[in-house]
């Protein structure tokens, strides 16, 4: 599904190399988690994959089902099936959440040569999916993320994911700022989307999220590289001992 080879990227403004050769391969239907100390490049990886400005790819490749992601505009990557759940979802005053969702869904359908959803069909689907995420009608009407609590913003991200039905979902610290109940709700939303054809890359600091979203593979990222990969037990090891042992081990 997602193949990343030797990916290197700089932060343009600061002329600083953040990714120093990331190798990662995620198969269809798999859930991978990336953990790592602050500043190791986890969020940068998610931004570079989704095409955010301000980063320059200086080497390596990233493909989704064999298609070169790095050559595409952000919207083309989305239409190709990539989705990033933001660590800090953006507030957009003046754009209704519903308008936003419908515009996004139909833009992707159009890009893939599919017919746009009718207003009625869209409404039916969105209501059904919103309900399972405990997103009420008021939240759908309000401007995108404006005045939403931290938990509401993250649930709204998962709703977008559910509506857009991507192949490859990247969750960037989706657990940050969530209380236990909200995390459970978000994790349930993610788990409901798990399927053979859909893969996940979960970026997190805490093992706790991985209790709810069970990963197949856990990677440790440090200093712009994946330094160790293993099963779910690796996350437990980090939880208990921190990163020091692992960093020492590979140094």
């Amino acid at each position: 599904m997602l193949e990343i080879k030797g990916l290197m990227a700089d932060l343009q403004d600061e002329d600083k190399t953040i990714l120093k050769g990331v190798d990662l391969s995620i198969g269809a239907g798999q859930v991978h988690a990336i953990m790592g100390p602050n500043g190791s490049g986890k969020s940068t990886l998610s931004y570079v994959l989704s095409g955010k400005g301000g980063y320059e790819v200086t080497g390596g490749s990233a493909t989704l089902d064999g298609v070169d992601l790095l050559d595409m505009e952000p919207e083309e990557r989305a239409a190709a099936g990539l989705f990033l759940a933001f660590q800090y979802p953006v507030e957009i005053p003046g754009v209704g959440n519903m308008t936003f969702l419908r515009t996004a869904v139909n833009a992707q359908r159009k890009a893939r040569g599919e017919e746009e959803l009718s207003a009625g069909d869209f409404l039916r689907v969105v209501r059904e999916k919103a309900k399972s995420l405990k997103i009420d009608a008021d939240m759908l009407k309000r401007p995108v993320n404006v005045g939403f609590s931290g938990g509401e913003k993250k649930r709204n991200e998962i709703l977008q994911m559910a509506m857009l039905e991507p192949k490859m979902c990247i969750l960037d610290e989706t657990d940050s700022g969530l209380d236990v109940d909200a995390m459970k709700l978000v994790a349930d939303g993610v788990n409901a989307l798990r399927s053979e054809g859909r893969s996940f890359l979960v970026i997190t600091h805490y093992q706790r999220l991985l209790d709810h979203i069970k990963p197949d593979v856990v990677h440790i990222m440090a200093n712009g590289r994946i330094i160790k990969s293993g099963g779910p037990e690796l996350a437990l090891e980090v939880e208990n001992n921190g990163y020091a042992d692992i960093l020492e081990e590979v140094a």
Binding site: K52, G53, V90, T103, A111
Partner: protein, 425 residues
């Protein structure tokens, strides 16, 4: 003195080809005399510092190509009383009968001839009052030479809006129209204005709202790229009255919209708002607003939003004057621009002048580029760059559209704006 001489010469040159129309002689001659003293504006006048009035004051109007919109006229779906002017000439065939429940309507020329006393007495009075403290000579020119217009008197809550439609078919047309509105105590009227009107258009609208009256005004100034317009709305509003005006300006080479509101009564409310989309280095759009609080507990709002690209220039001159004794005034003013590139400019001059000591007044003005984070967020959800830009542009303008009191009209303008943005002009 050299400047005064230049100004006098320019004014004479403009007047040379004009003859006073019939009717309303007293007011017209008075205006002519006042104009002789003031002279027409020049770019060295403080009040025209940001917008060069030359093409508005020159003897000859520059031609403007007629824009073929290929879409139904705005407000077509609204049940209304239509009054159509083609290049400033009344079109009786395209217009509805000038009758309605709770409202008296006549053409300006007919009203003068038929002894509609209130109109004869009212014509030019608010324009004259509006010359203090700042001169607005182009309005005085209009009072002297306006060839037509509409006079409307609302005596009850009028259900159907009166809709003035200004079609532009002659690319050389140079038009002055002057309309009067009187909203009697407790009455209510909605006035719609739509269209470019002419290659060069000078309009004056005088609005008198009596105690407890309400006046709603929604206007769109067409899409002709080369039309030039200077419009003036002079309003005087009494106790517990409401005045609301919204203007949408898209395209147009030069637009100066002046709105002068005098809140003479207590507990009066005045809201003026505008949305503008400008494209190109030769685009200038100027909103000049002057709100005077002269009653107790008055509430005024000015909300102006401009989207500018490819070197377009936006101007906002907005003033709130709170007279001594106008206690508990609540005055608010915001002007904002969204600059879609580095070449566009927004020039804002917000002014507060307050002589009462128990008031709440605030003003703000901002200029900014499009929010890159919001843009990326939309793109990451699959919305193409241009559509995402349009969506954010519309969102930016939405706050001013919300000022429209009628949701149906606001939705129509929003939908239209959306389709215009999508078609790029």
């Amino acid at each position: 003195m050299a400047l005064a001489k230049l100004k006098a010469d320019a004014t004479q040159a403009r007047l040379a080809g004009l003859a006073l129309p019939q009717g309303l002689e007293t007011a017209r001659k008075d205006a002519l005399n006042r104009l002789a003293v003031m002279g027409l504006p020049g770019k060295r006048d403080e009040y025209w510092k940001y917008t060069d009035p030359a093409t508005l004051t020159d003897a000859d109007a520059l031609p403007a190509a007629v824009f073929e919109a290929g879409e139904p006229l705005l407000f077509d779906a609204v049940e209304r009383i239509k009054i159509v002017f083609v290049d400033g000439v009344f079109d009786p065939d395209a217009s509805d009968d000038l009758v309605g429940e709770g409202v008296e309507i006549a053409r300006l020329g007919d009203a003068a001839a038929a002894d509609v006393h209130w109109a004869k007495e009212f014509y030019g009075t608010l324009e004259t009052r509006g010359q203090t403290p700042v001169h607005r000579p182009l309005a005085t020119l209009n009072t002297a030479f306006a060839t037509d217009g509409v006079v409307i008197r609302a005596t009850a809550k009028v259900a159907k809006p009166v809709s003035l439609i200004y079609l532009h078919k002659d690319q050389a047309s140079d038009v002055m129209l002057h309309s009067l509105v009187k909203v009697e105590a407790g009455a209510a009227l909605t006035l719609l204005e739509n269209g470019p009107a002419a290659a060069r258009f000078n309009s004056v609208l005088e609005v008198d709202v009596a105690d407890g009256g309400a006046f709603h005004h929604v206007r769109a100034q067409g899409r002709d790229h080369e039309r030039r317009a200077v419009t003036h709305c002079f309003a005087r509003i009494a106790d517990e009255s409401l005045f609301k005006s919204f203007t949408l300006a898209v395209n147009g080479r030069l637009t100066r919209n002046e709105c002068i509101i005098e809140m003479v009564g207590d507990d009066a409310v005045a809201h003026v708002a505008g949305a503008c989309v400008g494209d190109g280095a030769d685009f200038v759009h100027d909103d000049t607003v002057f709100v005077t609080h002269d009653g107790l507990r008055g509430e005024s709002r000015q909300v102006f939003k401009k989207v500018l690209r490819n070197g377009a220039v936006g101007v906002f001159q907005g003033k709130i004057l709170v007279k001594a004794g106008a206690q508990k005034t609540d005055g608010y003013q915001i002007s904002q621009s969204l600059l879609l590139d580095g070449d566009s400019q927004f020039l804002a001059k917000p002014e507060l002048e307050i002589y009462a000591d128990d008031v709440a007044c605030s003003h703000g003005s901002t200029s900014g580029a499009i929010d890159e984070d919001a843009l990326f967020y939309l793109q990451s959800r699959g919305v193409p760059l241009q559509a995402a830009t349009d969506l954010l542009t519309l969102a930016f303008l939405a706050e001013s559209l919300q000022e429209i009191g009628d949701d149906g009209l606001a939705d129509e303008l929003r939908d239209r704006l959306e389709s215009w943005l999508a078609r790029r002009g």
